[in-house]
Each structure stands twice: as C-alpha cells, then as structure tokens.
Subunit: 342 residues, 2 copies
Amino acid sequence: MNTKDLILKKLVENKGKFISGEFLRQDFDISRTAVWKHILKLREDGYQIEAVSNRGYCLRDFQDIFDRSAIISQLNTKLLGKNLIFLDEVDSTNNELKRLAAAGASEGTTVIAKKQLAGRGRRGREWFSIDEKGIYMSVLLKPDIAPEEVQAITLAASSAVCKAIDSYTRTKPGIKWPNDILLNGKKVCGILTELSAEPDKINSIILGIGINVCRKQEEFPAEISKIATSLSEHSDFELSRSRIVAKVIEEIEDLYMDFLEKGSTAKFLNIWRSFSVTLGCDIYICQGDKKWKGKALDVLDNGHLLVETADGERQAISSGEISIRNVCGNITWGRYSNGSKQ
Amino acid sequence: MNTKDLILKKLVENKGKFISGEFLRQDFDISRTAVWKHILKLREDGYQIEAVSNRGYCLRDFQDIFDRSAIISQLNTKLLGKNLIFLDEVDSTNNELKRLAAAGASEGTTVIAKKQLAGRGRRGREWFSIDEKGIYMSVLLKPDIAPEEVQAITLAASSAVCKAIDSYTRTKPGIKWPNDILLNGKKVCGILTELSAEPDKINSIILGIGINVCRKQEEFPAEISKIATSLSEHSDFELSRSRIVAKVIEEIEDLYMDFLEKGSTAKFLNIWRSFSVTLGCDIYICQGDKKWKGKALDVLDNGHLLVETADGERQAISSGEISIRNVCGNITWGRYSNGSKQ
C-alpha cells in the first residue's frame, strides 16, 4: 500500500472524526506539505475530505468511489486481496486471473474489473457485465485438496457473499444449490468456479463472483429481465461497490481459513444451510438428458446435494441444474447466466 | 497435409516398392517436374529415395527422421493428431498445449517437441528432457465427464504407450499404478495429466507423455541414473521416434474412441491390467505424511487402486505414491520424475 492509500485507510477508519495533519505527518514519517499533497490527490480522486485549521482532516462519509485504493483502504485480510488487481475493463476476471495464475500468481490474488467484455457463467453461458453496474471479481485459492473436494469450497463462496450482502437487503438472500444467490426468487449473484489440477491434486481454484448491484430491472437483456435482479432493487441503502467487495473478500477469507485450519467444511456448510432456499423443497433435477423429481434433504460434507427420489431412494447429486418451482422439461437455458429460472 | 507430405505418405505406405512418377503425377494432379521437385525436397529433408528410370521412386527404408511430415505420413487417425504442432524446442509441451487450449484449440490437438527446456513431471517435479533423446508429447481431450472420472482416462494413456512400445522391447513393459511405465523395474515413461474444469464438468484434459527413447544410462542425471532407463537399452531395433509417436497417438485414439462410444473404461482397464506390475503385489502407500502397507488387489472402473490393508480392510486409493519393493519411509522424492523409486 502506498502512502496515499495508507492515509485514506486512516481516514476511513476514523470516518466522521478529524485527524490532525501532525498525527498523519508523524505516523507516516513525511512532511506536512507531503500530507497536504496526498489529501489534494485524494480529493482529485473524488473523496470529499474536509480540512479545518487546528483540527485536521475529516472524511465525513465514504462515497462509492470504486477503485483499487477505495477497496484496499477498507480491506482487513491476511491473505486474500493482499495482491489486488483492479481493472477498468477486462475480457473476464476469471480469464485474467487464469493468465496470472499460469504466470505464478500467489494464493489470494484477486482481480476486480469495472466491466467485463466477455463475462462468463457456468457451462459456457454468458454473464451480462458490459456495463459498470455490477461487481465482477475473481479470487485465487490453492488448497491442497483433490478435484472431487472442490464442490464444497464453491459453497463457501456463496455463503460468504450472502453474509456480505445480507445487511444491505430488505429480504434475506437465498441460495439455490449449488451457488445461485436469489432475492425474492430472482438471481442477484452467480459464481463460476474453475480449477486447474492433476487428477489427484488441485493446482489452483478460481472463484469468479458476479453480483448485479445497481442495474435497474429494465437494464437487463430482455430474455432475463424477469428472472434477474439487483441489490439496489431490494435495498434502502446507498450501495458502495468497494465496500461490498471488501466485505465479500473478508467473508471468504474467514470461511476459507477456518476450512484450512480445521480441515472441515462444517462452518460454511452451516451458513450455506441457513441461506438455502433449496433444502426441504421438491425439486426437479436436470442432468444432461435425464430429468427427474425429488426432494432436497441436505447438503453433504463434499458439497453434493442429498436428494430423496419419488420411490424413497436417497441419492447424492454432484452435477447438473436444479429447478425449484417448474417442471424441468420446460427449462431451456438461454444465453445469459445472470438470471435464474425457478 | 501438403503435397510433399502426401507424397511421403504414399512412399511410406509402399515402402520398398517403386511408385511411378506418372502415378504420383496423376494422383496429385501435378506436373512430373513438380513431382521431381518434391522428391528433391524430401531428399533434402534426409529421406533416401531411389529414382530409377521407367520404374519410378522408392523409399527403401524409413529412417528416423523426426519432424512433422515424418509423423503425419505414418499417422492413421480420425481425431487425434489431425491438428499436429511440431516444435524444435518448447518450455513444456503441456504448457504449450495449455496455451493453445486457452485460445480455443480443438480436441485431438497434439504438441510434440524435440526437446523441453522446462519439462515437468507429476506434483511439480522436473522431467529431464533438455536433450533430443526422448519423445515429449501432449494430447488434448475434451470428454464430457466430471473431474473425478479423469483418473481412469489417464490409465488409457499408459495402456496405449505400453501397446505402442511392446513390440520394440526385449522385455514386456510394466505399469506401476497409476501411470509409470517400467522396463525391468526402471522407469522408461511418465505421464502428466492436467485438467481444466468446473467442479462438475471437465473443460479439457491434457495428457502429457514423456518417453526416454535413446538416452544412454550414463546420460541421465546422476541422481536417477540407476532408476531410469530408455527404450534403446532394452531394444534390438533401430528406434524411430516418429513411428513410435504415430503409434502412441493411434493407440490412444483407439482406446479413447471406445470409451466415448461405450461409456465404459473396461477395454483399456483390461489392457492396463495385462501390463500391470502392481496388482497382486505387496505395496507401500504414501499419502502426504501417512504411510502404510497393503496388497494391491485390482484397479477399479474409476481408475482408483483397490488395496487390502494388513487387517483385511479394503480401501480404494485415488492419490499418493506407491512403492513396490522398499519401505515407503525410505523414499525421498527427488528433483526429477524420469526415474521410478521401487
């Protein structure tokens, strides 16, 4: 973090209070003129910082400035996001992180972009993200696990996002197995996990997270406008993307570190269960050409969904799509992945 | 394939026989002068082609010319190797194919290099391949399977290589689970499989195959000279790398197509079993810090190794290293992967 970012972090931590120029000068071992130059630069970046003689500097309110400095000034993590790449635009944050991983990027490296020119959802679908009305981010993890254990890790991502957005929304977010996050039955967030591995060992996992933040209902592509939604449509707050990004990274770190320490998925699976809108429901399961009905009973330690079939048999589902309300046969998956067909 | 390669293929198919210039002229719809120019170019490439008036052209014997033309003139496949990239040198054929796959390379794309500057073995070890005394190749597959099914596919690769080299060696090649190929207990071939996937679906599999072909025992790095070997040390034949590469690609295609058609691993697992030097043996299993003894009973449909522990319990092994002769505790895995510690 450079000095400007450190001063911003200090102002953010003391939001609404004055910090003296002398304090900043001593804290960062720079001249008062240098402090003043950094304050001017922060104002140029858009921060409304008051300066009062004999009192110092004060950031009254944290505006939604969405850049690297804004995120790291609000981020308190030990591993995730310590190497943070912020881009104005990119093909896809997963693609960029894949390139960085191939070049040796360390665990926790995070890529965030204001917009994606070729955002991707699961199974080759698109993620509509060519405007600056969402959060498009990817996090690199390198746990020492086998490929079949990855499904569970992906559930940590949806659990973390739910924890991060829950306090901003009027309705509680819900998770549709495995990782679609819904508000009032419409999709607000999708997660695309990609892994690079040997058959018995993961090299790296990329958790790609797309959140529809401030896109109005009519700004979605027509084919998903009825099944997609945004945080802003369900929130009474001014939403700061930088604050939400920082919170999502912190929540993922919290759950991931717990997993590494205890070797158990229990903590985040319990959070996942508490946000689930799948468990206890009659669902339709689509696996390739196979379509069948069952009742979702629980999520297993490995992230698979335990389903009871019509004839009482229990089966663990590891792949495919589920549908909660409609007959599976009616579902035709379209171009975009932002929306969720219920 | 260009006309020169097509003429070479025709000469190879009719090895030892004369083909008239008129036949070639008509077959490829070119002038006799053009035929003669291609023959001259092939001679420049190193092929010893006889030309006799009124009889035509004859390739007496197929020399070990190791280039793209030599391989494709001997290759009879429908999918694998149809897109074949031949390089004088590369960091690693798996790396190159990974880059090509990221740029959209089609299934079956194959990369072959005369030498690798940073050849890799399993779990981050090196594959000694900076000289031109081996075969270093990678094949791209895109089956519609889940990551946990990949282990079985990798066994198709070792089965195919054994079938391809069996006719050249005095002793029958043996496979140590999962994929080390041994001659008289020393490693002659290693396979590094890497996959790119979503948690429930493979995007692509790269089968990387390294075969020690004509490296003399004393030309291996000292630390593996006693546990590595080459085809040439166990063969009475002049070995042609291009012929072996073509045979390996054909054998993989044969087993892979059978798997795709029948959805079953049975065919190549039976071949794997017939070359196995693991089944029926007392083995030591090393999984991280855990080391234990058991008897290898069989390979399962998913490629896992079924082991009976000392107290009669049966367990399926999906990861780790096994050792057949020595106590596991004595094994310290070194820098290079070319050799196999027994």
